[in-house]
């Protein structure tokens, strides 16, 4: 084993493992908080555990982890209960109730902490916020062959074990009760009707959230806990519509966030020539935010870019259909074909219109004929289909929606683009004998064949 490896194993691996486990526990549970609009429960709990910790400390007089854990857990569960009480009796919305609760709890914690600090006791509020990730060490053996002996494993840092078992518990809970959680999240009323106790599931989830908050934040600090309860789940939610995929994705994102964040915090400054590392938990939070931002922009289904592209494609396709329809109407009026300028005058000169015309040219639906523009046979068939749905809609609007014949054109202009073949057939079935629209113009048949060139 090289000294470098040994150093990595003793200094870097324990914090990485702790952060990964803590992130995993929070990330997996967070899915259900985000979906149930309870994202900020983690925020509330992680602020309010402070007095629990300090009281446990003041009572026992030591930093015994189990006492601190119990104190924090009591404070966490108490927060959930007090928020519910204030919401019900104080008639405040959940957000305000949480804000009132956790700020009072936190203030109490800071006050008690000052009392403890005055007694020269090391209990730093910063640890609560940023965690003590950098202080987790492990002393691995110098040789690989004695690596998996029981003596070595017994020296595993407590934080690794605590967060590891919490991650395991969270994953088991979500795996075993996936069906129940899904139902209780999306339709609590149905869940209750099917004989599940939705509120039991709710409280079980809340207790697990409180427990993983408490387990995680001693090691990684409350800020990372809050971020991990929300960011991976929110990121995954932008990438998929299926809950199972979302949970798996959020777990992957949590692991990636923790390792990437630690590397950026611990190694990147050294690579760039600095002596000391940056706050690893802060960096993980920043990475979580970065990954979320990437998903907001680049998600193939829900990303800003994808949505914008869809909108542009739709605008172009509408512009193309409008142009074809306009040319078709010119043909109905007489032999004269419009010039490019006339077309642009009616349709406008916006970018989608130009792109739409170009698409129609490229597809061979229209051709230039000197200064004017003509429909090809292919274009005429496409145009007939657009005009058909336009006039069918007009007929429908007049007969069934009670609109006046001279008022339906604008609405039909919009509806013609969203009429699929099946909608069109259904519209036509309503009025089998209709051959003309309310203004007396012929409705092109389905199997339209061009008569003229």
């Amino acid at each position: 084993m090289t000294p470098n490896t040994h150093q990595f194993l003793s200094i870097d691996l324990p914090p990485i493992l702790t952060a990964v486990f803590a992130s995993l526990a929070c990330g997996v549970l967070g899915n259900f908080l985000v979906l149930r609009r309870l994202s900020l429960m983690g925020d509330a709990i992680s602020h309010s555990v402070l007095p629990g910790l300090v009281i446990a400390f003041l009572l026992t007089g030591s930093r015994s982890p189990s006492a601190m854990f119990i104190g924090a857990a009591i404070a966490g569960v108490l927060t959930v209960a007090v928020v519910e009480l204030i919401r019900r009796f104080g008639r405040l919305e959940t957000g305000a109730a949480m804000g009132v609760t956790f700020s009072i709890f936190f203030a109490l914690g800071v006050l008690l902490l000052e009392q403890a600090a005055a007694r020269q006791v090391d209990l730093d509020p910063d640890c609560v916020l940023h965690g003590m990730l950098e202080t987790i060490f492990w002393f691995p053996p110098a040789q690989w062959d004695s690596f998996f002996s029981s003596a070595t494993l017994a020296q595993t840092p407590r934080q690794v074990i605590v967060t590891g078992s919490m991650a395991l518990a969270a994953i088991l809970f979500v795996t075993i009760f996936f069906k129940e959680l899904r139902l209780a999240t999306f339709d609590p009323a149905l869940a209750t009707a099917l004989g599940m106790n939705a509120s039991v599931i709710h409280y079980a989830l809340m207790i697990l959230v409180a427990a993983s908050t408490v387990a995680a934040f001693e090691a990684v600090g409350s800020i990372l806990v809050i971020a991990m309860l929300i960011c991976p789940a929110a990121t995954a939610r932008l990438l998929t519509d299926r809950l199972r995929t979302q949970v798996i994705l959020s777990a992957v994102i949590s692991i990636a966030t923790a390792t990437l964040g630690y590397s950026l915090g611990a190694f990147a400054p050294i690579w760039t020539g600095h002596h000391s590392s940056l706050s690893a938990t802060g960096m993980m939070t920043a990475v979580a935010g970065g990954l979320f931002t990437l998903a907001v922009i680049f998600s193939p289904t829900h990303g800003v870019l994808a949505k914008q592209a869809r909108r542009i494609r739709l605008a172009i396709s509408i512009a193309r259909e409008d142009a074809l329809g306009l040319l078709y109407r010119f043909e109905e009026l007489g032999p004269r074909r419009p010039t490019h300028a006339e077309l642009a005058e009616t349709l406008g000169r916006s970018i989608p219109i130009r792109l739409g015309l170009r698409t129609a040219l490229r597809k061979g639906e229209i051709i230039r004929d000197g200064p004017s523009i003509k429909l090809t046979d292919l274009g005429r068939r496409a145009a007939a289909s657009v005009i058909r749905s336009h006039r069918l809609w007009e007929t429908y609007l007049v007969k069934h929606a009670g609109l006046r014949p001279d008022h339906v054109h604008e609405t039909a202009m919009r509806l013609e683009h969203i009429a699929t073949d099946s909608v069109r057939d259904e519209l036509a079935e309503n009025e089998p004998e209709t051959r003309t629209d309310p203004q007396g113009k012929p409705i092109p048949p389905t199997n339209y064949r061009s008569q003229s060139g």
């Binding site: 008639r91 700020s103 009072i104 000052e114 990372l224 929300i230 940056l278 935010g289 829900h302």
Partner: protein, 442 residues
């Protein structure tokens, strides 16, 4: 600024040196010296400003937006400090740091809006993301500052937990201006603000500039937050904005009263909190201010006349009492004289609950007791007949107008007859005058 130097004997020693009455009176009347007076005035005015602005934040359901906003100030503070360092300015200059804080707070608000508008995530998730990520970036920057130069960043941490003692006379002037502006804006735009708070859709369709009114509120929240950073720190500044309005709302349904009460609670918390932290050693002012506000909230939650927990419990008990009394009287009318045990058997209530009620009825002259059996007096009979009539009327109403199956009528009629108002009874009599009695009884 602490008037005492107290050295604890051990870590379990929780004793404190209590101030004398004289010191208390001096601190309360702002005569304890220049510095404590400045702090007390500053926190009081801050409390008033936050109390006023917070009402709109809470009513507009923006409570946790304030939290996101205050956490989002940290990277701005750190960046301002770093930039000042690059240009060689005085890094601790408060104005510069607070400008940075305000800028990144505004960025945070915009980020929440952007996430809400461009993704399918809900507001709470957007708030949580902005809150944690901005704060995380702030923590990274803080560690960067720490690694660049040691010892010089001490002032920055005081923004997280607050440091009232660092308040200057100029800060008090700022707080006073802030409170004044908040009060004036609230008074000037009371109609607009209340419209937007209670029915923003209506305000929007009536042509009110809802977006601008919201922006105005948001700007005021940013100002209060930035002002509060120094006093209570960025984690607890949300308490100043939310707790006074939450407490005030328990006392009143009227916006003007709520505003005044909230401003008063905020001001009083700031005043009492800073006085207490001056008098008692080792009490951090920010936390004490929040805890005073929290105590006011707790008292309000328990004792508010209509919305308080105790008032609610009393109301429910009074209703229970009336329900049991009415049942007992009606059962006696139907069944003739009965013992308390009989009444329990007829489902009126448990013996321990029924017995005192029967004695109370006897004192009023509605019932008389002979050979352990209760019977109705003439007066009680009249009362019972009225109740019975209401019950039948309600039965009819449910059957004819609410499509309830005849077999279910009696059950729900028992539950609701106690809430019938005289007007409703008159109306039922009118509508059902011609109908025949139901369920085979008269």
């Amino acid at each position: 600024m602490s008037p005492h130097a107290h050295h604890p004997a051990s870590i379990t020693d929780v004793s404190a040196a209590w101030p004398t009455m004289e010191e208390l009176a001096r601190a309360l009347t702002l005569q304890a010296g220049f510095n404590p007076t400045v702090v007390t005035l500053g926190t009081t005015l801050l409390g008033v400003a936050a109390g006023i602005v917070g009402v709109f934040a809470v009513l507009r359901k923006r409570a946790l937006m304030c939290d996101a906003l205050s956490h989002a100030t940290l990277p701005g503070i750190c960046l301002a400090f770093l930039i000042a360092g690059v240009f060689g300015w005085e890094g601790r200059s408060l104005g510069l740091l607070l400008t940075g804080a305000a800028a990144s707070a505004i960025l945070g608000v915009l980020a929440v809006h952007a996430i809400k508008a461009s993704t399918r995530l809900t507001e709470d998730a957007a708030i949580g993301i902005v809150l944690s990520v901005f704060f995380g970036v702030g923590v990274v920057l803080l560690s960067l500052i720490q690694s660049l130069e040691s010892g010089n960043q001490g002032g920055l941490k005081s923004f997280i937990y607050g440091q009232t003692a660092a308040m200057h006379a100029s800060d008090v002037a700022f707080m006073a201006a802030l409170a004044l502006v908040a009060a004036c804006l609230a008074a000037l735009f009371l109609k607009e603000l209340s419209l937007v708070c209670f029915d923003d859709t209506f305000a929007r369709v009536s042509g009110w500039p809802v977006t601008w009114i919201d922006l105005l509120t948001m700007a005021m929240i940013v100002l209060v937050t930035v002002a509060g950073l120094q006093a209570v720190g960025l984690i607890l500044v949300i308490a100043l904005l939310i707790i006074p309005p939450a407490a005030a709302r328990l006392w009143s349904d009227r916006l003007t009263t709520t505003l005044l009460a909230s401003a008063f609670i905020g001001g009083a918390s700031g005043y009492l909190g800073s006085v207490a932290s001056y008098l008692l050693p080792r009490l951090p002012a920010g936390s004490v201010i929040v805890l005073v506000a929290g105590a006011v909230f707790l008292v309000s939650l328990l004792f508010a006349p209509r919305r308080g927990v105790i008032a609610g419990v009393m109301r429910r008990a009074a209703l229970n009492l009336r329900v049991t009394r009415d049942h007992a009287v009606r059962t006696l009318l139907e069944q003739g004289p009965l013992t308390t045990a009989d009444l329990t058997r007829f489902g009126v209530g448990s013996r321990l609950w029924v017995a005192p009620i029967m004695w109370a009825l006897a004192r009023r002259g509605d019932t008389a007791r002979s050979q352990r059996r209760w019977s109705l007096t003439d007066r009680g009979r009249r009362d019972a007949a009225r109740l019975e009539r209401n019950h039948r009327l309600w039965e009819q109403y449910l059957m004819q107008h609410a499509d309830v199956a005849a077999s279910h009528v009696d059950w729900s009629a028992d539950a609701v007859e106690h809430v019938l108002s005289p007007q409703l009874i008159a109306e039922l009599e009118r509508t059902l005058a011609s109908s025949t009695p139901s369920a085979g009884r008269k």
